[in-house]
């Protein structure tokens, strides 16, 4: 008896360490193992992009999710960080300076911090819509400057560099993609940890307080403007690091990287992943990169799907992927998750029907509008060949979409009830 109590009172240090850092050890292990499983060149490139975007979208969520600042110009800090890193690479290589490649993202981070400081001083004077508008204006300003200041931004073609021309450390030249992958993975892990640690500091918590109720924050001793300003600088710093990583990865920076479009993408990533949870933007970055890579391979209308997914997410799952997962945590704890699975399986039928109908509609329309002139009216949809000029595909698409919507609405109440039972118990639901 007494020995078990003693054992419980004195926790096993290894177990304690695991409990505290288990997630991080697992993440590191996963990052190390991933290239062994997915070793193709395309997979490596995709994973490198994911690592960069994870840092970028987490930095964005320091503003949107943590502090409640909707920015439309976050690519400015990513892009400027990237451009400075590219120039730094060229300068270092040209001057044979003894600076190794792995520290280069810090150059990007510094640039992001510097411009976060300058633009933050202007834009964080205001909150809410005014802040959003200023961020949009600054974003557009820098984006248009990027086409004018050719010396720094290189015009349409951008600026290139060669990462292998830098000081070699322990024989690693970062020529092969796999070496770049591990560099990005290491930076990614460090940045995730740093940004997570930030949420657990006095300032990190005050960011949340300012998001929740800025007025009250002023009456407990905090200048909301200062809180927003520091958060903005820190977010700029990490965005700059992401830009530096991008510069190393692509050995190229151009106007697209600093455009309003890029600012939009980072918003989408954070939102789709879920801005209410720290890990949300990580999931969002992974999903969006996957979609970008795979959808753009399959269909020319991939941006449209991307937009539809975003709209669907905003309408049906405003908490994003992380929100959906959190919704099922209580079910997992109660051990009732298996109860709802059959209902999800049943719901999958109308969802897949609707999705198939919508996809067919989009693809046929896309073919009609864009490709008929060059390719003729004949088209393929999942290996099914047909003529896009006949009413048949349109009819089928309408039937699938309509049927899916109808069945889905029919079944939705039962799904909801099943979820309610599983989450709160049958008694509570009544």
């Amino acid at each position: 008896m007494s020995s078990t109590i003693l054992a419980a009172a004195r926790p096993n240090p290894v177990l304690d360490l695991l409990r505290r850092y288990g997630v991080w050890i697992a993440a590191a292990g996963l990052m190390i193992l991933l290239p062994k499983v997915f070793s193709s060149g395309a997979a490596l490139t995709t994973m490198c992009l994911m690592g960069i975007m994870i840092v970028f979208s987490l930095s964005y969520n320091m503003l949107l999710g943590q502090t409640g600042m909707l920015s439309f110009g976050h690519a400015v800090y990513y892009g400027l960080g990237g451009f400075l890193a590219v120039h730094a690479m060229n300068t270092i290589a040209g001057g044979k300076l003894p600076i190794p490649l792995p520290v280069l993202p810090l150059v990007g981070g510094f640039m992001g911090l510097l411009f976060g400081f300058i633009f933050g001083a202007v834009s964080t004077r205001r909150a809410g819509t005014a802040f959003a508008m200023i961020s949009l204006g600054l974003g557009e300003l820098i984006a248009s400057l990027s086409l004018i200041l050719r010396g720094f931004f290189g015009g349409e073609e951008g600026i290139t560099a060669n990462r292998t021309k830098m000081l070699t450390l322990w024989g690693v030249r970062f020529g092969p993609q796999i070496e770049v992958y591990y560099l990005i993975a290491a930076w990614c892990l460090v940045c995730i940890a740093a940004m997570f640690a930030f949420t657990r500091t006095p300032l990190g918590r005050l960011c949340n307080a300012v998001r929740e109720n800025p007025e009250r924050a002023e009456f407990i001793g905090y200048s909301t403007q200062m809180v927003r300003f520091i958060a903005f600088c820190v977010a700029g710093f990490f965005a700059g690091i992401a830009g530096g990583l991008a510069a190393i990865n692509f050995e190229l920076m151009n106007a697209v990287n600093i455009s309003g479009g890029q600012s939009g993408v980072v918003l989408l990533m954070a939102y789709i992943g879920g801005i209410g949870h720290f890990a949300g933007p990580i999931l969002g970055a992974i999903l969006v990169v996957l979609l970008q890579v795979f959808l753009s391979d399959i269909t020319g209308a991939w941006m449209l799907y991307f937009g539809l997914i975003f709209i669907g997410m905003v309408m049906f799952a405003p908490g994003g992927l992380a929100g959906l997962i959190m919704l099922h945590l209580p079910l997992w704890r109660r051990g009732t998750i298996l109860q709802v699975l059959p209902h999800y399986a049943a719901m999958a039928v109308p969802v897949l029907m609707g999705a198939a109908g919508l996809t067919l509609l989009i693809e046929t329309a896309h073919h009609q509008l864009v490709k008929t002139q060059t390719d003729g009216p004949a088209m393929h949809f999942f290996r099914l060949g047909f003529d896009s000029n006949t009413p048949l595909p349109w009819l089928a698409a309408a039937l699938l979409l309509g049927g899916g919507l109808w069945l889905g609405r029919l079944y939705a109440p039962r799904l909801k009830a099943a979820y309610g039972d599983a989450a709160h118990g049958v008694e509570a639901a009544r």
Binding site: P202, A209, E212, E215, I220
Partner: protein, 251 residues
């Protein structure tokens, strides 16, 4: 030396004068109640003192230091903290986090992003002690937004006193509470403002006469009387302007 002093303070919204020349002195450690009919400008006066609105004219001093025109956070840092008539908390943060955020500045952590908040024993212990005082210790991990109305009012006071301000201003702390809740609350207020200067707006005359050392009566933007409870009770001008109806409403 006074804890708080107002000298001929005016406030106009557009062309409408709301506060029309208020002078007031509150001594250190005094419990001062401000009473008056609805719309008299009591909350507005609180907003002027705490920096939520700028004064149109006049001077406000805190511990003989001029605080006119300062921002709310600057005034708070100098030791004046206030609560709100309409509950004003951080609804999605936990109850504990609400109070902890309110102690951080005053413990010197300011904008630190180099301290791990879980290891700040002084902040965590102080927050917990305050939760115990206001009776919300067993609610500490709930989001503040799900608390009952009375609990949120208690949290409102907890946030207000958390920083350890020497001057505490409460705007209708017992509004909307039942009789038993009110009695409990009066004790709570007495307890947590021990050794501090208290300025309080209150409609409940029972609470006012129970707690206050001095009472000021604000009617239509002017203080018509400022005196001890006994003398306010027998003041005919006050009887006419306000107290007559207010005491009747009590019964």
């Amino acid at each position: 030396m006074s804890a708080l002093a107002l000298e001929d303070v005016h406030k106009t919204f557009g062309v409408t004068p709301i506060i029309r020349g208020v002078s007031l002195e509150v001594g250190k450690g005094e419990r001062h109640a401000i009473i008056g009919p609805n719309g008299a400008g009591k909350s507005t006066l609180f907003h002027l003192i705490s920096g939520r609105f700028p004064v149109s004219q006049g001077r406000v001093t805190l511990n003989d230091e001029d605080i006119t025109g300062l921002k709310p956070y600057q005034i708070n840092r100098r030791g004046l903290s206030r609560s709100f008539q309409v509950t004003n908390i951080f609804p999605k943060l936990t109850v504990f986090e609400n109070v902890r955020c309110a102690v951080l500045w005053h413990l010197g952590y300011r904008y630190s992003f180099w301290h791990n908040i879980r290891k700040l024993n002084d902040a965590n212990e102080r927050a917990m002690a305050i939760l115990q005082q206001i009776g919300l210790a067993d609610r500490s991990q709930l989001p503040a937004g799900v608390l009952t109305y009375a609990e949120q009012r208690a949290l409102e006071i907890g946030i207000t006193i958390a920083g350890g301000a020497g001057v505490v201003m409460l705007d209708e702390p017992t509004a909307g509470m039942s009789r038993s809740e009110t009695a409990h609350f009066v004790n709570l207020i007495r307890k947590v403002t021990e050794g501090r200067t208290l300025i309080m707006v209150e409609h409940d005359m029972g609470v006012v006469f129970d707690l206050a050392d001095r009472i000021s009566v604000l009617v239509y933007g002017q203080i018509i009387a400022s005196d001890t409870p006994a003398r306010i009770r027998s003041n005919t001008a006050v009887q006419e302007a306000y107290l007559g109806q207010a005491l009747e409403a009590e019964h």
